[in-house]
Amino acid sequence: MAKTYDAIVVGSGISGGWAAKELCEAGLETLVLEAGRPVNPDTDSVEHVPVWQMKFRGNRDRKAMLVRQPVQRNCYACDELASKFFVDDLDNPYTTDESKPFLWIRGRQVGGRSIMWGRQTYRWSDLDFEANAKDGFGVDWPIRYADIAPWYDHVERFVGISGQAEGLAQLPDGQFLPPMGMTCAETHVRDAVAKYWGRDRVVTIGRCAVLTQSHNGRAACHYCGPCHRGCVTRSYFSSINATLPAAQATGKLTLRPYSVVHSVIYDPRKKRAAGVRVVDAQTKHLIEFRGRIVFLCASALESARILLHSTSPEFPNGLANTSGQLGKNLMDHCMGGGADGTIPGYEDRTTYGNRPNGIYMPRFRNVKDRSPNFLRGYGYQGGAGREGWGRGVDQAGFGADFKRQLKGLGRWNFGFYGFGECLPRPENYIELDPGKTDAWGIPALKIHCAWSDNERALLKDMSVAAAEMLSAAGATDIRPYVQDNAPGLTIHEMGTARMGRDPKTSVLNGNNQAWDAPNLFLTDGACMASSSCVNPSITYMALTARACHYAVDAMKRREL
């Protein structure tokens, strides 16, 4: 008889890494299954490779990507050096409606997308947790800020978040390492906006999972810049830099790469998940693993896909889908309304080093006032730096004077770039596409997703409000814009197995536990009942740690 693990974790990205650490540290023999190859931070990090050693100088290998990564190439981070951390789109197909593009940006390797994530980390507040109950979209969250706050503390202390406490109710402060500095033009805009809007609109330094001092054995950032290419000093948080080594150190971890999870095995007698079926990515053999509890942390779309594919006489439409909500309510933040402008002055000043972070402006719409045009709100990321040599391409001139001019720096440009909350709507959903399988024979997803008028209204307001603030800051040459980004590109997809208070309308309860199988947990973006407007990863981490401790306690009480 095959070994039964105490716990099986599917996925080794930001959520799976946390599940591995918490379960192993609680003493559970834990099997982590990762679909992709192993990644070693010492040998696979390429952030210090000089671009002149690269054929395309770090720009993307355009023609190769058009063939093998036509979806992934849309992500800013999928460049010549980092493209190896993004999937091959031919091996990993999915389909959409023709009129509704969705960009599914994926990383299949040990560490998942935590290797090339954006590292921005913001707590949710009760403004977010109460949103569904107040305006009626989606179902009410079964938890509130007080339920998750201690778990934010717990994960933040380990991750190491640099940031500035601001005392704002809509963006709670956390356990912060010293903040990174603001550039001269950022300080200028911060002060100008404060003069007009007081504490209603706050420009703060980005809160990010990059160390400003050594922390838990990881070194402080050395400001080389391209974090998405890896980090040999482990200065930014990722599974391979932090959680998986911690799990490994317990001696309880078995990490199995090249393990494409096919489905969850259901035991109808015990009414529990019994384990998972895996396609070995190299041999294509089907293998079964048994576990007392199963954590799905494969990403919002992958975890839901696995459950939709886990059919049985008891669950013909997929395991944990009694409510019919599995795969529904897909969300992604709408991004790309904003404005750029030139900040006059500070001509004798510049920056030194490459800060892997920008500024942040927390949500200000529908916080105190109520907007007549849209529900919920948005925040801005952005920042200011001086133009470099690239400006020369669209500038007249050539020769020695031109070269001397480009060696000096150009204008200070400031940009506000908005990220808006996406409403949970059942019309945005995924299903298995009966006509297409991936390279391992598993049915591909068909993704149906489009923005609603609310997201479009948010994008427009982002642009107008950004221009207004730049104007208040004395900026010149203000350039407002609204980008037409397909859903998915923000890479904050979530909501496909939502938490709720009622098994009839939700997939998971308030502990991320499947209503249909109490030893089955989903703690990645699938569990989200709404989307807030802030970057979601730290919330997945906190929910994962919370669910792990709940599961361990329930096992101790012999409930699981």
């Binding site: 054929k55 030194y352 080093g353 391409v393 007249a396 020695a400 031109f402 001019q405």
Partner: protein, 191 residues
């Protein structure tokens, strides 16, 4: 260097005895030019010489090396071979031919043989034409000269010479200073 490039280089090396007699007849200058050619896949010797001259006029040697020393010509060839679509590649090659045609019409000589003053005059014309497109808010995406400028700046500033000697950049700065007073040299003014 990928396998295809390696094969090209090997191919060029074995071809030496066959073509070198002809090339020697072109004189030392052309021979030096040819010697620098292994690996070129799109640009022929004349086109390469023209690209080298043009890019070095855009970013010349000053107190630091220019585009010629940074081998921007090699970067241009790689991009033409493996980055651009055939249409764009042809537009660039047509642009090169147009430079020579204009030079011949104006001076009776191909661009590389024209005097520095004549070369500068023609480049000024090309730059002015591009500026007029910009000022009229017309698309510059099909402009040969913009393509050349883009390739020159990217090729130069992402080279080791551009990054280290010209910009004094470091791969590992080791710190972040958000609001540093620039010294005169870094401003590019008084050095």
């Amino acid at each position: 260097m990928d396998r295809r490039e390696a094969l090209r280089v090997l191919g060029a090396a074995t071809a030496v005895p066959l073509v070198s007699r002809d090339l020697l007849a072109l004189g030392r200058d052309a021979h030096a030019r040819w010697r620098a050619r292994p690996g070129f896949r799109v640009l022929d010797a004349d086109q390469q010489a023209l690209v080298t001259t043009l890019t070095d006029l855009i970013i010349p040697e000053t107190d630091t090396p220019g585009a010629r020393a940074a081998r921007v010509d090699q970067f241009v060839d790689v991009m033409l071979a493996d980055w651009y679509d055939p249409d764009d590649r042809q537009r660039f090659l047509d642009g090169l031919a147009d430079v020579d045609a204009r030079s011949t019409a104006a001076t009776g000589k191909p661009f590389t043989d024209a005097t520095p003053a004549q070369q500068t005059a023609l480049l000024t014309t090309l730059d002015d034409e591009l500026a007029r497109l910009r000022e009229a808010h017309q698309s510059t995406s099909k402009s040969f000269f913009r393509m050349l400028k883009w390739l020159t700046l990217v090729g130069y500033y992402t080279s080791q010479i551009g990054f280290e000697q010209e910009l004094h950049e470091r791969i590992i700065p080791g710190m972040f200073d958000p609001c540093r007073l620039q010294d005169a040299a870094a401003r590019g003014g008084e050095d």
